[in-house]
């Protein structure tokens, strides 16, 4: 049997490979985001525990952890950020794939926490780069992490990111 040209046009969509892959990436981002975990201290332990035990096991399978920030949609960092660490963290944030999503775990990453009164820990990271979701707790348990993860997925589905908003604001 031979296909008529008419039928072929209705069945086959011609596009460039680049735009097809781009479409696929946007469509599949919220169901399987690639994660770059930047564990600093206590909170990263709970993050690892949540990812290894049954609590987040479904997330673990669909969202692989990447070692290179260039491959990751989402950076998860937890723990206190000191002035010595800030240049490294900013550099890694700059290397993330665009558009960027960032999730911060714990009180120290959000506001300096217990150590904000000291001389070394920064009182929060929001003035250095945009953050999408703050997960509260010192350290937060796995349930809070699951909640934070689901919020990030909703934002990914709607293509809302604090980084994108910042870019738009900068253009205006």
């Amino acid at each position: 049997m031979t296909l008529s040209d008419d039928l072929l046009d209705r069945l086959v969509l011609t596009t460039s490979s680049h735009s097809f892959l781009n479409w696929l990436e946007v469509k599949s981002r919220d169901t399987s985001p690639w994660v770059f975990p930047f564990g600093l201290s206590c909170c990263s332990l709970e993050h690892a525990a949540a990812f290894h035990t049954s609590v987040l096991i479904s997330d673990n399978q669909s969202s692989p952890q990447r070692v290179r920030p260039e491959e990751a949609d989402l950076m998860i960092f937890g723990g206190s950020v000191t002035t010595k660490l800030l240049p490294i963290l900013s550099e890694i944030h700059g290397r993330l794939k665009e558009p960027k999503w960032v999730m911060s775990i714990g009180a120290c990453a959000a506001s300096g926490g217990l150590y904000a009164e000291g001389y070394s820990v920064l009182p929060g990271m929001s003035q250095h780069f945009p953050i999408d979701v703050y997960v509260p707790g010192c350290p937060p348990g796995p349930e809070q992490l699951v909640e934070g993860f689901s919020i990030i997925r909703q934002r990914m589905k709607k293509n809302i990111s604090s980084w994108l908003l910042d870019q738009e604001r900068a253009q205006l």
């Binding site: 564990g39 600093l40 201290s41 240049p87 550099e91 890694i92 150590y115």
Partner: protein, 557 residues
């Protein structure tokens, strides 16, 4: 007393004293090096526990003391289990001789003193250890006010390898520099490791610490003794209860109160469960680094069993803050003992599974034979805990200077032979089993009674049923001014999961510490890392890094 007598006989001009289990001596700056050298060579104080400094600004400006700073050396006699504290008074512009020729592990503490107090050591490195150039001045001085550059100027300088003239040009071209971090996905924390490799062998390595320096020692100088407990918990965050108990024990020994029997038993249970938690965390990281995913998941499962116990006792999986000065915050909830026994059974089953998977797995063995360390080296580096015992040194504070009920329970101290990562793994796994043994013994004989002391200095009320104005005054005083400690210096320690975790407190008689020093085991373990990965393969270097269990919260404090 034997050592004290012989010291006094041999040094007739010096005044050795003993108070609260610690020998004290004050030395002059000129003779300190020679005396400490003799203490090491002839009197058996071969273990350098710690070096730290204190700033006596108030006494100095009011004329009570002539010199502003004191540098303190803590040495340990491994056979007699005696500690000596050697104090040297210094002024601002005096220099003191470096001990780096006597002990390898004195380099980092000396650099830290130079950075924090501005005390100069002869021929020491000038670069900062914990803070970056961003902070101006010497933070731990009493008259330091926060002074820093703006955030825009911040750059991170990676450590650079020095030029080695003896390497030929051909070899220099073949050598590569690899950054092993900071984006290392291991879960233990943050530090920068750079390795210069030839083929697969590490030739040289440099580390940069201080990325998690949170300034805990400075923060403690504005907190009551009870308020410091959350900070003590977050030092070694993989076994939080240990730090809190060590801190509480130090303060309780300083104010000389006895804990109730039930509180001591409870603290023993919590400490041993924390040891299981810590070892399983470090082994999970080790398995993850070497791509033994199954084993990693099993260790994480063990961890979750213990976390569930903490959750039901303290209300939090990790940081419960349930230790108080003078006891624990509340008694065990109903049904906790049964849960704990169930968990012990489950953990033992999981451990059996692990041992059958890992002990003879070739992929596990192949990376673990390198980087061995003998006992003399380990003592020179100031190792303690499982890393020291893996080298074959039978030193466990629970046996040698027992506290709480450790002399009444039966347990064994596992020892290794070669001091390589495989031995450390075996020692850790065996220690977990011994800890479970201790927990079940304590649960069998758990004493009844209250978990908080009824000492009037710590009680919130006077004890009568009807609250009087005296009660309110007492309550107000306790919460406003804190528990007071008599002026003096105190040191106490526990065998934490990583080794000897000690707290030094200097009090001026008020409710807040004048100076706190944390003797953190990881700080001394991690110092040896650069030397111990020379001429080993990269995979083995990863194994060594994770087997040291370097916790960044403890290294940088």
């Amino acid at each position: 007393m034997k050592i004290l007598d012989s010291l006094n006989k041999n040094f007739p001009t010096l005044d050795f004293k003993e108070s609260s289990g610690l020998l004290h001596v004050n030395l002059d700056n000129i003779i300190v090096y020679d005396v400490v050298k003799l203490l090491k060579k002839d009197f058996g104080f071969i273990f350098l526990l710690d070096i730290f400094a204190t700033d006596h600004l108030n006494d100095y400006s009011s004329g009570k003391c002539e010199k502003r700073f004191t540098v303190t050396y803590h040495l340990l006699h491994l056979e007699e289990h005696k500690r000596i504290s050697v104090n040297v008074d210094l002024n601002e512009h005096e220099t003191i001789q470096s001990f780096s020729e006597l002990w390898l592990n004195s380099k980092w503490p000396e650099r830290e003193i130079a950075e924090m107090f501005g005390i100069n050591f002869e021929n020491h490195q000038t670069s900062k250890l914990l803070t970056s150039d961003y902070i101006i001045g010497y933070p731990l001085r009493k008259d330091w006010v926060y002074q820093a550059k703006s955030h825009q100027d911040l750059v991170f300088k990676k450590p650079e390898f020095s030029w080695l003239p003896e390497i030929g040009d051909d070899e220099r071209l073949c050598r590569q520099v690899i950054d092993l971090s900071p984006s290392h996905p291991a879960i233990q924390g943050t530090f920068v490791v750079r390795a210069e490799v030839l083929g697969n062998k590490v030739k040289r390595a440099l580390v940069e610490i201080g990325l998690q320096h949170r300034g805990v020692e400075k923060i403690s100088e504005s907190k009551h003794y009870g308020q410091f407990i959350p900070y003590a918990e977050r030092l070694n965050f993989s076994s939080p209860m240990m730090g809190a108990i060590a801190w509480a024990k130090t303060v309780e020994e300083a104010i000389e109160i006895e804990m109730t029997d039930r509180c001591q038993a409870l603290r023993m249970i919590m400490m041993e469960l924390s040891r299981v938690l810590d070892h399983s965390t470090s082994l999970a990281a080790m398995a993850q680094d070497l791509r033994a995913w199954d084993a990693s998941v099993i260790f994480q499962r063990i961890r979750s069993h213990v976390s569930a116990l903490f959750l039901s006792y303290t209300g939090s999986r990790l940081m419960g803050s349930s230790v108080r000065i003078g006891g624990m915050v509340h008694d065990l909830p109903i049904g906790w003992v049964t849960k704990c026994l169930d968990a012990i059974y489950l953990i033992q089953t999981e451990l059996k599974e692990i041992l059958s998977i890992l002990n003879r797995a070739p992929s596990w063995l192949v990376f673990h034979g390198e980087g061995g360390m003998n006992a003399a080296q380990a003592i020179e580096w100031g190792f303690s805990g499982p890393c020291l015992r893996a080298c074959g040194v039978n030193y466990d504070l629970r046996k040698n200077s027992p506290y709480y009920f450790y002399q009444d329970v039966e347990f064994e101290v596992p020892l290794g032979i070669n001091g390589d990562p495989y031995d450390r793994y075996l020692v850790r796994v065996e220690e977990m089993q011994q800890s479970l043994k201790i927990v079940s013994q304590v649960l069998d004989h758990i004493p009844s009674g209250s978990v908080q002391t009824e000492d009037p200095r710590l009680a919130k009320t006077t004890g009568s049923l009807r609250l009087t104005s005296a009660d309110y005054a007492k309550h107000f005083d306790l919460y406003q001014n804190g528990t007071k400690i008599n002026a003096g210096s105190y040191y106490s320690f526990i065998e934490s999961a990583n080794g000897e975790l000690g707290f030094y407190i200097r009090s001026d008689g008020s409710g807040i510490p004048y100076r706190t020093r944390v003797r953190a085991p990881s700080f001394f373990h991690f110092q040896s890392f650069c030397d111990s990965i020379q001429n080993v393969s990269l995979e083995s270097a990863t194994a060594i890094l994770s087997s040291l269990n370097a916790i960044s919260g403890e290294i940088d404090r």
